[in-house]
Symmetry: C2
Subunit: 142 residues, 2 copies
DNA sequence: TGCTATCTGTTAGCCTGCTAATAGTTAGGT
DNA sequence: ACCTAACTATTAGCAGGCTAACAGATAGCA
């Protein structure tokens, strides 16, 4: 009969997916993606970081990190080193190629963000950021 | 050195993923997921709908619809019928089992939504909904 | 009429996320 | 000292999203 009402969850889901897909398509010529960029960002900002720490910071599960690092390492953007303190864990480090990519991809991501948020007031941005954080914290506390 | 700043895009992405994962986990005992639920919802609300129309309404690509319908049809929740007007297209219809599931899964999804949005004011909700819609429309116009 | 462009559903193949289960390692308690 | 619990990375296998490339059908125009 009628079309289903647009729920908050539905809009949130669709907006996030469209954003990611658009960034992926802009990053594709460089052989990259939103997920790889986020990983590179966290690796570059935190030296001697273990995979478990990366998973926690990115907010994803351990096997997701394993796969992402496998692909990044296959492109020589990143390398794993065995930790000296704990024989279980490995630390992750940016290689030369990965370092060189940081600037252009961060610019691309920032450009998209700036573009998408251009016609929003500071107030709108602050309000919606706060709301998203509240929902996220609620989800993390489940 | 320091941790990467939390961008709007990052929070949006993480919140949407956590929400979907939580709903997936609640729906799993029924053999369902957020994606399947959304598809069933649209099939049930629009009679004689073609796959292309479903893709447009869900905001996903055609191959995604194909896979989703394959899995739903394998569970006898849905069926495809060849269109009488156009030999290319097929219309999608809810089967008995699919119809029976609508109420419980919609309740589960609504419960989660209500729970997550409980501690937000009407103003916050309105503001952030408007913002998400603006961003989504911006993305769709690219 | 016939040719060309477009639309419809499908397949193949990839990425990124998940859960469950595993082996090896460390840490904690008795 | 030992035994159990917890943690680390990994594998295997799935879901759900995408693009590219396809065959068949339709539509539109010369």
């Amino acid at each position: 009969m009628g079309s289903p009402k647009e729920s908050f969850g539905g809009i949130l889901h669709e907006t996030a997916r469209l954003w990611r897909t658009e960034l992926d398509s802009r990053l594709r010529p460089l052989g990259l993606s939103q997920a790889k960029w986020r990983m590179l960002l966290h690796v570059s900002c935190s030296e001697n970081c273990t995979q478990a720490e990366l998973a926690a910071r990115l907010g994803v599960e351990a096997p997701t990190v394993v796969g992402l690092l496998d692909r990044l390492a296959a492109d020589d953007l990143v390398e794993r080193r065995e930790s000296t303190h704990d024989r279980r864990s490995k630390t992750v480090h940016l290689r030369k190629g990965g370092h060189a990519l940081m600037k252009p991809i961060t610019e691309m991501a920032d450009n998209l963000s700036t573009d998408l948020l251009a016609n929003l007031s500071a107030e709108e941005l602050a309000c919606s950021t706060a709301v998203l954080k509240k929902i996220r914290d609620r989800l993390l506390s489940l």
